[in-house]
């Protein structure tokens, strides 16, 4: 090689176009590397932000629980529990009464006649209702005293905040003008506590009263109503037994007990109530939301897993290429439908349809039919299934596609049928891929917001799983739904605001776990194959 050609080659290498001192290659590298870097940083920041906003929650929640205890409102709540049990009993009695009126109307009695008949049993109803009055009044009084104390405490709290800010801005005299009193909860609570003997007496009278009038439960002669009154008697007797338990708890309650931070934590994670803007006490318990989310997700998976995997197997193994070209884009297209449109469809069509179907005569043998709520976990779950199917389908189809063709050929060459090949070779080989497809589909469903917000019914209560399968037709609220619904209205930095962030954090952790396991499974799959 002569000198000149060497030089020109050398120059060629140097003359590569450069911009700001970057060659094209390093610019490209920088561009893509930079993108990856930015997305990692953004993700990190989001996580950090979630933690930061959520972290303050437990401290605030503990303070709130502490105030609840120190002000004695917790004590009142215990008595209110008893009062609620009694009201439930009264409500049951009323339901008997209205059923009686209904029956009479069905039998063709006019208003006057049925009045005459119901009058006979009326006394009993009124007597029973009267029994509940003293307890109710006692609770109301106690509550009034203690809430007043709590409210003025909060007022003072606000005042001293105000004073602090005044002092900081140097307005000494204005600050001095503020009159800040110390609120001693003990004083107020002692008033309530001193009436404990009244409470005990009320209970004694209550029990005696119920026992006295119970034998005079009206006799209806009608089998259905009679069964109901029998049940009422049982419930009343159960209540009588419970009274002593309520009383015990009330008497044993101590105002001075402190609230450790762990209690704030457990009453968030395992809390059974989510109550906001309450005049008594706000509760931020995760269980109603979490159980709602999982119930909806389970319903969705119940439909999406068989359909998604079935479609994947069909398209990958059975369909002719023409069918494949038709089905695949079609299913994948579903995921392009905006979720708000699906939710809209759920409200307008699907929910109504379900309720109508549940009212069919021929389905009356199902004991939870007809359903009362149009929007419930089933409605939301059914629609979410629609959104999970493309995810499961696509990933499961990928997994099936990864099974070497040679396995299929070997199996077929030994005289197995297509079905045997699919069940014994293809699916087992792709199993881990399919499982991770299901997991990721689950993650998709748990994280979906719009559809559940619109279609799940948004009732914040733990679904009654004890009722069996019928539970899926109960309205529920979800973790994603509650964030979307409430975050817009809360005061920035308030306990409620932070509680919502904690819910978001829990969601985030769930998704993280799901993805982690999905990847774990796929990895194991690759190792065992490689």
């Amino acid at each position: 090689m002569d000198k000149r050609s060497f030089k020109s080659r050398y120059q060629l290498a140097c003359n590569r176009k450069s911009f700001l001192g970057l060659t094209r290659e390093s610019a490209l590298k920088g561009l893509f590397g930079g993108n990856a870097f930015v997305s990692i940083v953004v993700l990190g920041l989001i996580t950090l932000f979630l933690f930061k906003e959520g972290a303050g929650f437990f401290g605030q929640y503990r303070d709130s629980l502490l105030l609840y205890r120190q002000s004695g409102l917790e004590y009142v709540e215990l008595m209110r529990g008893q009062q609620n049990a009694l009201s439930a009993l009264t409500r049951y009695l009323n339901s008997i009464r209205s059923r009686q009126v209904e029956k009479l109307a069905e039998e063709g009695y006019d208003f006057q006649e049925s009045r005459a008949i119901t009058e006979e049993s009326e006394d009993f109803f009124y007597d029973f209702e009267d029994l509940a009055v003293p307890l109710r009044e006692h609770v109301i009084e106690a509550n009034e005293i203690l809430s007043a104390a709590r409210d003025s405490y909060q007022e003072m709290q606000n005042l001293s905040e105000h004073r602090k800010s005044l002092l900081e801005s140097g307005r000494q005299d204005e600050a001095d003008a503020l009159e800040i009193r110390e609120i001693d909860f003990a004083l107020f609570f002692d008033i309530v506590k001193s009436r404990e003997s009244e409470y005990i007496e009320i209970n004694e009278n209550l029990i005696r009263g119920i026992e006295e009038i119970l034998p005079s439960v009206p006799y209806f002669g009608d089998a259905e109503l009679q069964a109901k009154t029998e049940r009422f008697k049982e419930l009343a007797e159960m209540f009588i037994e419970e009274v002593s338990k309520f009383e015990e708890n009330v008497l044993a309650w101590e105002r001075a007990r402190s609230v450790p931070i762990s209690e704030a934590f457990t009453s968030f994670i395992f809390g059974k109530k989510w109550v906001t803007n309450s005049s008594i006490q706000d509760w931020y318990g995760l269980i109603p939301l979490m159980s709602g989310s999982f119930l909806v997700a389970l319903v969705a998976m119940f439909f999406a897993v068989p359909l998604g995997i079935g479609a994947a197997i069909y398209v990958n193994q059975v369909a002719r290429s023409l069918e494949r070209d038709l089905i695949k884009p079609y299913i994948e297209f579903i995921s392009a439908i905006p979720s708000v449109v699906i939710g809209f469809f759920g409200i307008a069509v699907f929910g109504t349809l379900i309720r109508e179907v549940s009212g069919w005569e021929s389905l009356a043998w199902i004991d939870f039919f007809p359903i009362s709520e149009r929007l419930n976990a089933f409605t939301a779950g059914g629609l979410l299934a629609l959104m999970a199917i493309p995810t499961i389908f696509t990933l499961a189809e990928d997994a099936l596609n990864n099974v070497p063709l040679s396995y299929k050929e070997a199996s077929m060459a030994m005289g197995s049928t297509r079905l045997q090949t699919i069940l014994r070779i293809i699916v087992p080989t792709a199993l881990s891929g399919i499982i991770s497809a299901v997991l990721l589909g689950f993650g998709r469903v748990i994280g979906e917001t719009m559809v559940v917000l619109l279609c799940a019914g948004n009732r914040i209560e733990i679904p009654r799983f004890a009722e069996g399968i019928g539970v899926v037709f109960e309205p529920v609220h979800t973790m994603t739904g509650i964030i979307a619904q409430e975050l817009g209205e809360v005061v920035h930095g308030s306990m409620h605001y932070r509680a919502l962030f904690m819910v978001g954090l829990v969601l985030f952790l769930i998704s993280l776990l799901i993805n982690y396991f999905a990847q774990k499974i796929v990895m194991k799959f690759q190792i065992s194959r490689g």
């Binding site: 199996s411 060459a413 005289g415």
Partner: protein
Amino acid sequence: MSLVSLRLQKEIKMDTPAVDSQRVDRNRPLIRISDFDFSYGDKQALFDINMDIAEHKVTAFIGPSGCGKSTLLRCLNRMNDLIESARINRGKVEVNGVDIYDERVDATELRKRIGMVFQKSNPFPKSIYENVIYGLRIQGIKKKSQLDETVERCLKGAALWEEVKDRLDTSGLSLSGGQQQRLCIARAMAVGPEVLLMDEPCSALDPVATAKIEELIHELKNDYTIVIVTHNMQQAARVSDQTAFFYMGNLIEMNATDQIFMSPDKEQTEAYISGRFG
């Protein structure tokens, strides 16, 4: 062999009076391909193939890449049914006088009679034991003693028994390439075929493993009719009784192996064997 004809006849209830008289004739071909045209979609891959494959003989298919050897081999047990675009335009393939492409023939039944070993060893991701008995499992056979007996017999038949008898529970994928190929042969044998189709069974193996398989083919000849595709002239010469030479979808020449390698009739065959093209 009688089993094929019996089974196929039972399937298609076709009375072929010729069978009885032909059964006496030891030289009657087991497989007869006549006037066979085959195409993938619009692309014709085989042109007017006429060929007889004799029982208990090893027949080798040779020819340059893409000439249709694998295609013809896969036509013999209807593996091409799996390919959507595959079409038979003309002619037929008869096994023991029965047209295997008759619509009344059950392809899965046919494939149990005509087994196949592939170019790239493809054991299932299951244990060695499960690999061998897969063919029995799909037939619903559960008797442990029968399964055990089959595993031992087939692994011995494939000259693999001594190497793996202590680790039948390990994955078939943990074996070496040559062992995997012998496992595939054992697996094909377990179904009890009469014909074994082998598509370049040694192309991924080293000389030692290749020698083992060739030796095995020699022994299998007693029980099976073997058709083998190979790119290795020496191998064809060593193991086969008859050799067929293909070129661009046509069967150029078929004859006894000695004849083909010593004094081929056709110019093209001569050229290919001596390495002048291909």
